[in-house]
């Protein structure tokens, strides 16, 4: 997903758009929508920070920061006591340790294996022909989560199909898939010396079944932000705001990009 957050003293616009190969065009689209939602012209934006895998493809961004730092900043603004962040997104998953000022002090990342990311849930939802957003609720009705033993998303997909044909109920399969993902992510995050509070963010945090499974694996209730998809963008906006305020205090003129949303030709 491509997201944009515009910040004044509070969030005045937040937009979540689709993602895809044409990152420059998508960045323009979400920015256009966000400006419309905020009811302000582009020139009114004092500073823009881009983040995530596509951060270098935001033509109007004044600074690029990785999602690790942005999640940290965004989450600590919502949960001042947060010290460990788990981010389960469609492309990867991460564990981030932060200090009280929202600075990352260590992190671990899985960008190699789809079975340790939100992509795993998308594939299984497709396979079972259920709505991704409903997976969490469906899994909560399970009393006997199925065991999904395959380590690879594609083989796990086939395993789910095979178990379905054996008569294993869908809710047990979905709960089993959550267990499998939570198990994998928790093992990765435990590489960090986990400190409380623990916050889950990213698309995975919208799945109540996954939150429950992960809380079990971490032996502690996990907190979830009200809108987990935008915490990275929120952190980026907070950084932009901090940069602007610091420059103002020091009387420095910030060097910013031209504020124009040109139509980008995709070659």
């Amino acid at each position: 997903m491509t997201k944009a957050v515009i910040l004044d003293n509070e969030i005045i616009a937040s937009v979540i758009g689709p993602t895809g190969a044409e990152q420059r065009r998508l960045a323009n689209n979400v920015m256009e929508k966000a400006l419309k939602e905020a009811g302000i012209p582009f020139e009114a934006i004092t500073y823009i920070v881009s983040t995530g895998y596509g951060r270098i493809n935001v033509p109007f961004a004044d600074k690029q920061v990785t999602e690790i730092s942005c999640h940290a900043k965004g989450i600590v603004s919502l949960f001042p006591d947060a010290r460990t962040i788990i981010d389960i997104g469609g492309q990867d998953s991460k564990g981030i340790k932060i200090d009280k000022d929202g600075r990352p002090t260590d992190f671990v990342m899985n960008d190699k294996c789809a079975a340790g990311s939100g992509r795993f849930l998308e594939v299984i939802a497709d396979t079972l022909e259920i709505d991704l957003e409903k997976m969490g609720e469906i899994s909560l009705t399970s009393k006997n989560p199925a065991s999904i033993s395959n380590l690879c998303t594609i083989w796990a997909q086939q395993e789910v199909v095979a178990r379905l044909s054996e008569g294993v109920p869908v809710n047990d399969l979905v709960a089993g898939v959550h267990e499998s993902l939570a198990n994998r992510v928790s093992r990765m995050v435990r590489r960090l010396n986990i400190e409380r509070e623990i916050v889950l963010t990213g698309g995975g945090a919208k799945n109540i079944g996954l939150v429950k499974a992960l809380s079990n694996y971490m032996d502690y209730p996990i907190l979830v932000p009200p809108e987990p998809l935008i915490t990275g963008a929120l952190g980026a906006a907070l950084m932009g705001k901090a940069i602007t305020e610091k420059a103002k205090t020091q009387g420095i003129q910030l060097d910013t990009k031209e504020r124009s949303l040109q139509v980008v030709e995709i070659l």
């Binding site: 999602e67 940290a72 990352p104 002090t105 260590d106 010396n193």
Partner: protein, 465 residues
């Protein structure tokens, strides 16, 4: 030539010495091809870290380092066709990719009776014999040549077994190392006999003593040279050390290796005097804390450099330790000396580790070098096909975090009181392989590096003064 190969840029080195390594290795490989053609010297396939270079040199045998050849194939991004060939022979891709590359190459050469087409740097010739070694947890070091022998059934193998006492926090390893020494000496004497039979040469023990002495001096010289890297700014990084490992690991027991480090030491001393750092604006000092590198992606060290990060020290390929800091029993027998050096090297950190509760030799080495080289963070590489290195990396980081927290950070309590707490060093684990490029993504790797640099920066900002 693949697109991948065409686009690949050479890594920039910080030292002249490191830049001279490519031609040195090329000449070495060319030398093995000439020796084979002229049949003037016996050639032995073998592995690094066996403490047998002196014996081979004294008996006029030319070692052909098969790990090195596979690394070259990886570094020039031309390993894939040999890996695929090994796979088609029924060997799993999850085995050591050095071994797969070497076996794929050897089988191809033996099948067609000449070097495979466009052989990297001239190719790897058929050996006269093979010397394997089963220690240091690396099963390919024993199994690789057995598999190669399927395609070269007339080439004999000698396996040197060189154990060392495992670390026990409650016991002095010297209580038992005499037994190990006797065993290793016997293994090495058996090796001498085997090489004498293969070459028809008789061991000249005076010559062997000279070569062992030369290696001893080279060991101490390397240690002195690498210790210079503790200077700020860093004058030589791990990227360069992945080159300078060549004379250390492949040319030991030669005047060439001694001279190389003599010149490198001089070069580093000059750089220190001029305060000429590896990068212009040094911000973060990192340790390469383990794992073999991705030979096809050594340019990532330049990427770290572009962010102000330097690597003044690495545990990988630091295959020597200062002999003058070891308490080794005296002997005039060069074979006995080789065995003591082996035991001295592998137990080097035992005494220090015993003094720190919860520590282990590998962790102790990290702690000592974090302090000695003023390290801000640790980078490790999990190469999926190398179990030898994988086994302990994460564990080492976990132990390190438990027993050693070197970063003082000023924190404000809820009542506004200031306290200092000590935090562990941040670490980054890169995931890929030694030569299998299909495991590597430059975008993902650099995204991780970017995030790590931001983490180092945030740690720096929160450090208490």
């Amino acid at each position: 030539m693949s697109e991948e190969k065409k686009k690949h840029k050479k890594r920039r080195t910080a030292t002249q010495a490191a830049a001279s390594i490519g031609p040195m290795v090329k000449e070495f490989i060319a030398g093995t091809i000439r020796a084979k053609e002229e049949a003037r010297q016996k050639i032995a396939f073998t592995f690094i870290v066996c403490h047998h270079e002196e014996i081979l040199a004294a008996l006029d045998v030319l070692p052909l380092w098969t790990e090195n050849f596979a690394g070259i194939c990886g570094a020039i991004r031309d390993a894939e066709r040999f890996l695929q060939r090994a796979e088609s022979l029924g060997l799993s891709r999850s085995l050591c990719t050095y071994a797969l590359c070497g076996i794929g190459f050897d089988q191809w050469r033996e099948e067609i009776g000449e070097m495979p087409p466009n052989p990297p740097w001239g190719g790897q010739v058929k050996p006269d014999f093979m010397v394997s070694t089963g220690q240091i947890l690396c099963d390919p070091r024993a199994k690789w040549y057995q598999a190669s022998q399927l395609y070269m059934p007339d080439v004999p193998i000698y396996n040197i077994d060189m154990p060392y006492p495992l670390f026990d926090p409650k016991r002095d390893h010297r209580d038992v190392w005499g037994y190990y020494h006797k065993y290793i000496v016997k293994e090495l004497r058996g090796f001498v006999k085997f090489v004498e039979e293969q070459t028809g040469n008789k061991m000249d023990y005076d010559r062997l003593t000279e070569l062992v002495d030369l290696s001893d001096r080279t060991w101490n010289l390397i240690d002195e040279t690498y210790k210079l890297r503790a200077s700020v700014p860093s004058v030589m990084g791990t990227g360069d050390a992945m080159n300078t490992m060549v004379p250390m690991c492949f040319r030991m027991a030669s005047q060439e290796a001694y001279d190389f480090f003599f010149n490198l030491k001089k070069e580093l001393e000059e750089k220190i005097a001029k305060k000429e750092g590896e990068v212009e604006d040094e911000k973060y000092r990192l340790m390469w804390g383990g794992g073999l590198p991705s030979w096809f992606a050594l340019g990532d060290f330049n990427y770290f450099n572009s962010k102000g990060a330097v690597f003044p020290v690495e545990t990988t390929y630091r295959m020597v330790a200062p002999l003058n800091e070891m308490d080794l029993p005296e002997t005039k027998d060069p074979i006995e000396r080789l065995a003591w050096k082996w035991l001295g090297y592998w137990t080097f950190w035992y005494d220090k580790a015993r003094k720190r509760p919860g520590s282990e030799p590998d962790v102790e080495r990290l702690i000592n070098w974090i302090e000695e080289y003023k390290i801000d963070g640790i980078v490790m590489h999990e190469a999926f096909s190398c179990r030898t290195w994988h086994v302990g990396l994460i564990w080492q980081l976990n132990q390190l975090a438990k027993i050693y927290k070197p970063i003082p950070v000023l924190t404000l309590g809820k009542g506004g009181e200031k306290t200092v707490e000590n935090r562990e060093l941040p670490s980054l684990i890169l995931e890929s392989d030694i030569i299998d490029i299909s495991t590597y993504s430059e975008v993902d790797t650099r995204n991780r590096i970017d995030a790590f640099i931001e983490t180092l920066e945030s740690v720096r900002q929160s450090k208490a003064v």
